[in-house]
């Protein structure tokens, strides 16, 4: 299942790259892109486990840029 989310307060391009790398490492994620320019996170992940994966991705974003929120 593939879904896109808006990212709020994503201020730093380097952080976006770091987030993308970390989210891709998460369990159950097939592919993820963090687009700094359009401020979007696109995740392709296991539909069974999607909610947990989004939770985990949100934690990753918070860890790298604490102000950054995933709009759900």
């Amino acid at each position: 299942m593939k879904k896109s989310f808006k990212l709020e307060e994503l201020d730093c391009a380097n952080c976006a790259a770091k987030m993308e790398r970390e989210i891709n490492k998460l369990d159950g994620v097939n592919s993820a892109t963090v687009n700094f320019m359009s401020q979007r996170l696109t995740i392709d992940a296991d539909p069974e486990d999607f909610d947990r994966i989004i939770e985990a991705a949100a934690r990753v974003c918070k860890k790298i840029e604490p102000d950054c929120n995933i709009v759900r």
């Binding site: 201020d11 730093c12 391009a13 380097n14 790298i64």
Partner: protein, 647 residues
């Protein structure tokens, strides 16, 4: 659309101004009379230290806070932390000098590092925000509401609530929310947001209105044809929004580079602080140089300006009705040096017409039989025959399509053959030589030859000009067609392509493209241009598939990498100008940012650059690179304008 400062940005701006207002007088007094000496003695340094620290904390408290927080999150190479280490390190050095009774200096610098860093960040955010909103305003074709006509009257609803078959009303000045067929009224539509075409499109009852266009003159009623998520406006939006997700090689390289750049610079800084310091014993100089290193260790200029460049390129292209489906295609298209064209619908208009009928006996009979066989086909050639015959045709025949040859129509013992020479030969029917320019359709009835019709289509007016322009940039041009040798040769000569391949079945086109792909060097890029109607496999197979005239054709948009919404070849050269400019600016930014950073690193290592210079180098470069990237989203000439200028 003007970019408005967010609340956070306004707060930041106020803070920067306050800090500057406090900093400038302190700095001026300090430099002219010397704050430390005004008190004198061992503790004289405490006065400037206190004043500068107050300014520092005003401007930098959030950076310090974030740096501390990020250490707990395990983000060591975080730019906030590096900035803090650099500025606090400079404070520490100045304190060290003060305690040891040396001349008091360095507090101003530590403070200024933070102020300039914040100013730089502010501009950077502002510039990115501005270009983001300027690009998004081009794509602002999302409808807010639809006026649904129900039995009880007209209600305003969200576009995604409208079902197929319902009637919506579009008032003048409103955006068409969903694709539909006009059932009442007539008006002009501004389709520029979809195609870049400024001439309005006139529609009347029975015509299609595409979502995203704007109703200019009068109220119309539409019968909805597609649900919101399937409609043209949402398809285009989705496509463009996703486009920058597909990262180019350059972007991936920069991301990778940034990953190693920061740790490397930090490690070198550490070595620079420790080793020469230990050897010479002059710790403060070497620590200072190392701190300057940390200031330039953030790769922001590159990491922001490169994706911004591609984003601007994609945005600029969409203004001209060109959808580029990914940054990587923009990058590849700039290098494309072989252009393979499908003939029909691409180089020619595809408006086939029966120009002549050569009957064995009766011309009317040729057309009558042919139209029975071609009945029901939407192929332009079939349509041209049906148009020419223009009478009721017998639809009781069973039609079989012989791929690449023609059609066999059967009813009981009655057999009509309608197709090319291959079809006739396979049935053992001898036909005369027809060395004529155009598509020749032979007709036979119950194994007797009846005659043939010649069908021709028109060349697109700008085809020759565009091919010439591509050739002058060193590209190889090839035309593929299912037509016979004579027609192919004629068209190829008139258009001016380097090579052509005639008599290709649809499957042969894929093979031909495969062959061309196998033939080329790895650094060459093959671009296939087609109308997207039945060349989807070729579009997908080639390095870059360009489909043209696709407004409303989902299959073509799906298969192609670059989509020209308008059925005009000049999109090819406009897209090329945009792609080349994007790549040029991206390269400029890489070389410029890396060059300046490297220069500052070297100069600070040998002690010729101060920390001031390092800060300017870091944030200044980022801002210049961003401004440079925004230039991509400018105006581009299309060929027609160019031609006019020449006259």
């Amino acid at each position: 659309m003007k970019h408005r400062l967010s609340k956070k940005e306004r707060a930041n701006l106020a803070r920067i101004l306050i800090a500057l207002l406090a900093f400038i007088p302190i700095f001026a007094v300090d430099k002219s009379i010397g704050l430390a000496s005004s008190i004198g003695g061992t503790y004289g340094w405490l006065l400037p230290f206190g004043l500068y620290l107050a300014v520092y904390l005003t401007i930098g408290f959030d950076i310090v806070y974030r740096a501390v927080r990020n250490i707990f999150h395990g983000q060591i190479f975080d730019e906030n932390l590096l900035m803090c280490v650099a500025s606090l390190g400079a404070f520490a050095l100045a304190i060290f000098r003060g305690v040891n009774g040396l001349d008091t200096e360095g507090f101003d610098e530590a403070c200024a590092v933070m102020i300039f860093y914040q100013i730089g960040e502010f501009f950077q955010r502002y510039a990115v925000g501005k270009s983001r909103s300027s690009i998004q305003s081009i794509l602002d074709i999302r409808p807010d509401s639809a006026n649904l006509k129900t039995e009880s009257g007209v209600t305003s609803v969200f576009p995604d609530e409208v079902e197929i078959g319902q009637i919506i009303i579009v008032y003048p000045g409103e955006r068409v929310p969903l694709d539909g067929i006009c059932v009442s009224g007539a008006t002009s539509l501004d389709v520029s947001a979809l195609t870049g075409e400024s001439v309005p499109k006139e529609i009347a009852v029975g015509d299609e209105a595409l979502s995203g266009s704007v109703n200019i003159s009068s109220t119309i009623e539409l019968e909805v044809q597609k649900q919101y998520y399937d409609s043209t406006a949402s398809k285009i939006l989705e496509l463009v929004e996703k486009a920058s997700d597909k990262k180019s090689k350059t972007e991936n390289f920069i991301t990778k580079f940034a990953r190693y750049y920061t740790p490397t610079v930090v490690i070198i800084a550490l070595i620079l602080a420790v080793i020469p310091g230990a050897v010479t014993g002059d710790w403060s100089i070497w620590v200072y140089r190392a701190l300057s290193f940390l200031v330039v260790s953030c790769p922001c200029a590159l990491v922001i300006s490169i994706p911004l460049g591609f984003f601007s390129g994609i945005g600029a292209a969409s203004k001209y009705g060109i959808l580029v489906k990914g940054s990587d295609y923009l990058e590849k298209y700039a290098k494309a040096n072989s252009f393979v064209f499908d003939k029909t619908g691409t180089l020619t208009k595809g408006n086939f017409e029966v120009v002549e009928v050569y009957p064995h006996q009766n011309a009317e009979e040729v057309l009558r039989l042919a139209s029975i066989a071609e009945n029901g086909s939407s192929h332009p050639i079939a349509q041209s025959i049906l148009r020419k015959y223009d009478k009721k045709t017998d639809a009781s025949y069973t039609l079989t399509n012989e791929p690449g040859m023609g059609i066999v129509a059967k009813k009981d013992d009655d057999v009509i053959l309608c197709g090319n020479r291959k079809l006739m030969e396979s049935y053992g029917i001898s036909v005369p030589d027809a060395d004529i320019i155009g598509t020749v359709i032979f007709v036979a009835h119950n194994c007797d030859y009846v005659g043939y019709a010649v069908i021709r289509d028109e060349l697109k007016p700008d085809a020759a000009e565009i091919v010439a322009e591509l050739k002058s940039s060193g590209a190889r041009t090839v035309m593929l067609t299912g037509d016979g040798e004579a027609t192919a040769n004629d068209i190829a000569t008139r258009v001016g392509v380097d090579e052509y391949k005639a008599c290709l079945l649809p499957a042969d086109k894929v093979n031909e493209v495969e062959r061309l792909l196998a033939e080329k060097n790895s650094n060459q890029t093959l671009c296939f241009v087609g109308d997207g109607i039945n060349d989807a496999p070729v579009l997908m197979r080639s390095d870059i598939g360009v489909a043209m005239g696709c407004l409303g054709s989902d299959a073509a948009i799906e298969a192609a990498d670059i989509v020209l919404m308008r059925d005009e070849l000049n999109g090819l050269t406009t897209a090329r100008r945009i792609a080349k400019k994007t790549m040029r600016i991206v390269r400029e930014n890489i070389i410029f940012s890396l060059g300046v950073k490297l220069a500052i690193l070297i100069l600070s290592a040998i002690g010729m650059a101060s920390m001031w210079m390092a800060v300017f180098g870091d944030v200044g470069v980022a801002i210049i690179a961003i401004l440079n990237a925004i230039r991509i989203n400018g105006k581009y000439k299309t060929v027609q304008k160019y031609a006019l200028d020449q006259k």
